[in-house]
């Protein structure tokens, strides 16, 4: 039914509008990204370790932390004036609520990645042009996975004391498989190896995405029922 999708989009659009109005989270995430990339650049000794070896790890660590900044706000903004209760009293389905939040988070993280990737290329002087297409595909594949889980978990932690910290701790083990996969494939791509060599990792990423998007969609209603 197209209805749940349009309702999800209504929620996502509202989230993005709110974020655009206040801009705090996106700016923090972008500044954070630039900062981390800069620090990594100064922190290394170019003669000791070739950049290209570290680059994928640095890229992905930066993306994941910036993403976590994004995901924290997803349900936090529903606490103001208890908008969440209003949402649950409305005909909005729980699934549409989850997908709306997921979409908004994905857009948010995508913005960070779109800004971060060129910066990364610039600072680390990595040859991205020949593999740009596959690289973007891998970035998208990995991002969907951990944002799906992160969106679900952010609903679990909203009313706890150290919500942001708890989200990071909960998410950590779930980040590892997609992160490792993403780093491996990125490293191979930047190393000029054909995409077919990374077939195993790509399958892992795809399987992870399918499994956890489905699981999160199924489990989300339990996080908001009373």
């Amino acid at each position: 039914m197209g209805d749940w999708l349009s309702q999800a989009w209504t929620v996502a659009r509202k989230d993005l509008l709110l974020e655009f109005r206040t801009r705090t989270a996106i700016v923090s995430a972008l500044v954070f990204t630039a900062l981390v990339l800069t620090v990594f650049n100064f922190g290394r000794d170019p003669t000791a370790v070739p950049t290209i070896d570290l680059a994928p790890t640095i890229l992905w660590v930066t993306f994941t932390f910036a993403a976590m900044l994004a995901m924290n706000r997803a349900f936090q903004l529903e606490l103001e004036n208890d908008a969440l209760e209003g949402l649950l009293a409305s005909p909005l389905s729980r699934t549409s609520l989850y997908w709306g939040k997921l979409l908004a988070n994905l857009v948010f993280v995508a913005v960070v990645e779109v800004v971060g990737l060129p910066l990364f290329v610039l600072f680390f002087d990595v040859p991205v042009a020949p593999v740009l297409g596959p690289l973007i595909a891998v970035i998208a594949l990995a991002t969907v996975g951990f944002v799906a889980v992160g969106t679900l978990f952010s609903a679990l932690v909203i009313r706890t004391r150290f919500a942001e910290l708890l989200l990071v701790v909960l998410l950590l083990p779930f980040l590892l498989p997609p992160l490792i996969g993403a780093v491996q494939v990125t490293a191979r791509l930047l190393g000029g190896r054909p995409l077919s060599e990374s077939a195993g990792w790509l399958r892992l990423l795809a399987a992870y995405d399918i499994a956890f998007v489905t699981l999160a969609t199924l489990l989300f209603p339990f996080t908001v029922e009373e």
Binding site: L152, P177, G181, F222, T223
Partner: protein
């Protein structure tokens, strides 16, 4: 006999048998040729790792049933299993380095079992922290069930990532492949140890479950 007493009894028997495993492993099982006496930690290390993982599956399974049945007993069991699993994971993470040092000269190595157990350990810590952070019992049970189910589903992916990583980055030769290829008496010791750890799991969970019951009984649930 109350549940707590039963649990204690089982645990004590388990610990006693564990000592027996040790005796058998040290005195009555042949020393492995390549790895020497240090290999004997294997009898402790691997069953613990197996149960660390089994415990997570049971947490997830209990979570699934809880979401449908809403029975608080399932939640108590999940909590007990998670704590037992954490203990077993900790055992693996401590015995691993103790074993690794004499063999490879380093305390830590990214071998498949240690790495997987490390990820599992993080999962448990997160699970227990989440439980600790929610005051309302029903909400805690529900949220823990959600996390537990996700954790259970993550385990195959952990194995897959570690496997893929290792096949492309060969590590120094690890343990010989699992039990079936062990010679007779080693296999017997190993199976004995597995049985003991099963017993220990049951003992820990029973005790912890009884403890949770005790905490609830007198004046209604509290954080």
């Amino acid at each position: 006999m109350s549940l707590a007493r039963k649990g204690r009894l089982i645990t004590l028997i388990g610990l006693g048998l564990l000592a027996a495993v040790y005796v058998r492993a040290l005195a009555f099982t042949p020393v492995e040729r390549v790895q020497g006496p240090a290999q004997k930690i294997y009898y402790l290390h691997v069953p613990a790792a197996i149960w660390a993982e089994m415990a997570m599956f049971l947490v997830g399974l209990a979570g699934i049933f809880y979401l449908f049945l809403k029975d608080a007993r399932l939640d108590r069991f999940a909590e007990a299993s998670a704590e037992a699993g954490t203990v077993f994971a900790a055992i693996v993470l401590t015995t691993g380095p103790i074993w690794g040092k004499p063999i490879w000269g380093t305390w830590w190595t990214w071998d498949a079992r240690l790495t997987s157990t490390l990820f599992l350990f993080f999962l448990y810590i997160g699970y227990l922290l989440l439980r600790g952070a929610i005051a309302d019992a029903a909400q805690r049970a529900r949220y823990a069930a959600v996390l537990g189910i996700c954790g259970m589903c993550l385990v195959p992916f952990i194995h897959l990532s570690v496997y893929l990583f290792r096949t492309l980055h060969p590590q120094p030769i690890i343990l010989k492949p699992g039990p079936p290829s062990l010679p007779g008496s080693m296999l017997a010791t190993w199976l004995f140890s597995l049985g003991v750890f099963t017993l220990l799991y049951v003992g820990f969970v029973t005790q912890r479950y009884a403890l949770a019951l005790l905490r609830q009984a007198p004046r209604g649930d509290h954080a």
